[in-house]
Symmetry: C2
């Protein structure tokens, strides 16, 4: 088992009606004014917007709205949020939405405390030295951002999709009410399931040693994600299925699942970000295209773990069966598993490779993920 450090400073409030506490929580933390970040109409449709506004007003919390966050949140809109936060001298960010809204909220929190252009932190040209406190109310369980130190933003000018990671952007409090995810569509539930699975299998497969305690933890999360997704697709209002899925997605990327694993990395996310930077494709859809293609390329490099995966998750014997079962399951729940499924032409492969290589350089993974390797992997997804 590798040495590790673990600290997660996010407080989770989980369950029914917890979002109504947001006003009291902010007041107790002596927050006077927030930027209220959200997407489009969905939080209004489910009545959440009104409940949040009421909770804020009842507790005397002022707020400036910053709406219109896109599914792949973009830099220009984030910069507008930073300007608002600075101009209005807010004490905190309140992000109400899915992973995109929270990631934009985290980035606004960083930008608001810095005189530097926020993109410099994504390019790793400067170190993050602070952030406003971030509070979240989650409406789409998938990315795990509600309990971690990461945020992903797309620079729409340069087509770069990059991430930041800093202890300052653990949300101070995240509110997880599974009922708020009842309205998540079947398509987005499928993408969310792919994303949660992707988060735990990256280290599980790419690490050169994975402790048994982590194998079991990760396999338990994968089984939970799969079972609950099937239940949710049949019964969207199944509270326990929504709740278990929500908590599984949080645990999948709150830092616990990678502890002690030797030498893991995030290759599937790297390539998926390259796709997401170019095409207006949901992150989960990018991942369901990339994962089977990456697995096909990687499986012989860690055969014992791929066989274990096949056995524990699908009750199959061979690595190949494990890979094809996972791909079939992605397809079954409605996620794309090829470039063709997403309407991307073969002629685009070199462009995707270029973009993926660019991220590989920033992430310092270009020693393994050369353009040749990336081409091979992305070609695996071309059918």
């Amino acid at each position: 088992m590798e040495n590790f450090e673990f600290f997660n400073s996010t407080r989770i409030l989980f369950g029914r009606a917890t979002e109504n506490k947001i006003g009291e929580i902010l007041k107790k933390d002596r927050i006077k004014k927030v930027v209220f970040v959200y997407g489009k109409e969905s939080i209004k449709k489910i009545g959440l917007y009104e409940r949040v506004v009421k909770a804020l007003k009842d507790n005397g919390i002022e707020f400036v709205e910053h709406s219109g966050v896109k599914p792949n949140p973009v830099l220009s809109h984030t910069r507008e949020g930073i300007e608002k936060a600075k101009a209005e001298k807010v004490d905190a960010i309140l992000a109400v939405g899915g992973g995109s809204v929270i990631d934009e909220g985290k980035t606004i929190a960083v930008g608001a405390k810095s005189k530097k252009d926020v993109w410099r932190f994504f390019k790793r040209q400067d170190e993050i030295k602070g952030a406003l406190p971030v509070y979240t109310i989650l409406t789409l369980a998938a990315t795990g951002t509600e309990m971690n130190e990461n945020a992903v933003i797309t620079n729409e000018e340069t087509k770069e999709k990059l991430s930041i990671s800093s202890r300052y952007i653990y949300p101070r409090v995240s509110i997880l009410n599974p009922e708020l995810t009842f309205s998540v569509s079947a398509t987005y539930q499928a993408y969310a399931a792919v994303d949660a699975i992707a988060h735990v299998i990256e280290y599980y497969f790419s690490g050169s040693y994975c402790p048994m305690i982590q194998n079991r933890f990760i396999e338990g999360l994968i089984k939970t994600v799969m079972d609950t997704t099937e239940s949710i697709l049949k019964e969207p209002y199944n509270y326990n299925a929504r709740a278990e899925f929500m908590w599984a997605a949080t645990l999948a990327l709150n830092g616990l699942a990678k502890l002690g694993i030797k030498g893991g990395s995030f290759p599937n996310h790297m390539i998926a970000h390259a796709l997401g930077g170019i095409y207006d494709l949901a992150h989960g859809a990018c991942l369901s295209i990339v994962i089977p293609a990456w697995m096909k390329w990687y499986k012989d490099k860690n055969p014992a773990q791929f066989e274990r995966f096949a056995r524990e998750i699908f009750n199959k014997e061979t690595a190949d069966e494990g890979v094809s079962e996972l791909k079939a399951w992605f397809k079954k729940i409605g996620a794309p598993v090829s470039l063709k499924d997403a309407g991307i032409e073969e002629s685009h492969i070199s462009k995707i490779v270029e973009n993926a290589y660019n991220i590989a350089e920033v992430w310092q993974m270009n020693d393994v993920y050369t353009k040749e390797v990336l081409t091979e992997i992305i070609k695996n997804a071309n059918y």
Copy 2:
């Protein structure tokens, strides 16, 4: 899934040589002087005492020693520690040892910040309003206290073994180096395994609803505890086995394993504390006597979960088989499974019942755990 709140403020440093960082850590946190709490000679035998002293001196941290903590830490010795902490005006507690040392350290941290007698907090006559920060270096993985908000102390005059629970006593930093547990004896490893299993099965069995995500998490921890204990008993210097056991024991009681479970309680610990308050028996030994006896009494109240346990852990079909397999495993690793094994005579049963009922009253569990019920359970352990 039940509503829950989760927050764990302990930072974990895990791995080889991490104890050498204690001086830097304290210095960075601006700690000037600590009470250095430990047990007897064992930390000197493994050279840990010297390394800690060096790390403190190298970083200019003053310290007052408070040694001689007993395996079931007692109130009188804890009060002496509190007096030292007050007289010497320390800023923090450094506890180096197993669960007993850390629990006494946490209690000193509470007592040092209060004008009230510390036992009042255990009797739940007063609320804990603060504590000195606690830093720990763990030398026996078992109780989980290194990453939770609990402490257990025995009042040797009244024979009461009671606990406190407060957010102020999460250790600020806990250092877990599995190598420091190489010298843990086979007997204590067995007790530690029983304790870690006990922590996760209390809610798993006694809750009226256990989410699948928790079933899988808990079963993964139990399997890890069992597999690694068997490896450790054969090869005490197996680093990965010690490491996985250590992390499993921490996860077993850091708050995660109970989230979302409906209506669980800690009956086995309640009765084990009654035994531990009267007899000089290790906590794990008390638990290995109590658990099979409690299971025998309880299994028909939650048959599906007991059948699941038998199937998932032992690949058996019936609840009875699960119970007897667990008992056989406790026996196999060298833990006592009856009052007779511990040399306790049948005539003592009523005394144990009285003591257990006393705790049941403090824990407000005496509605279910009447003297009749406690007698039935403890009689199950009498053979």
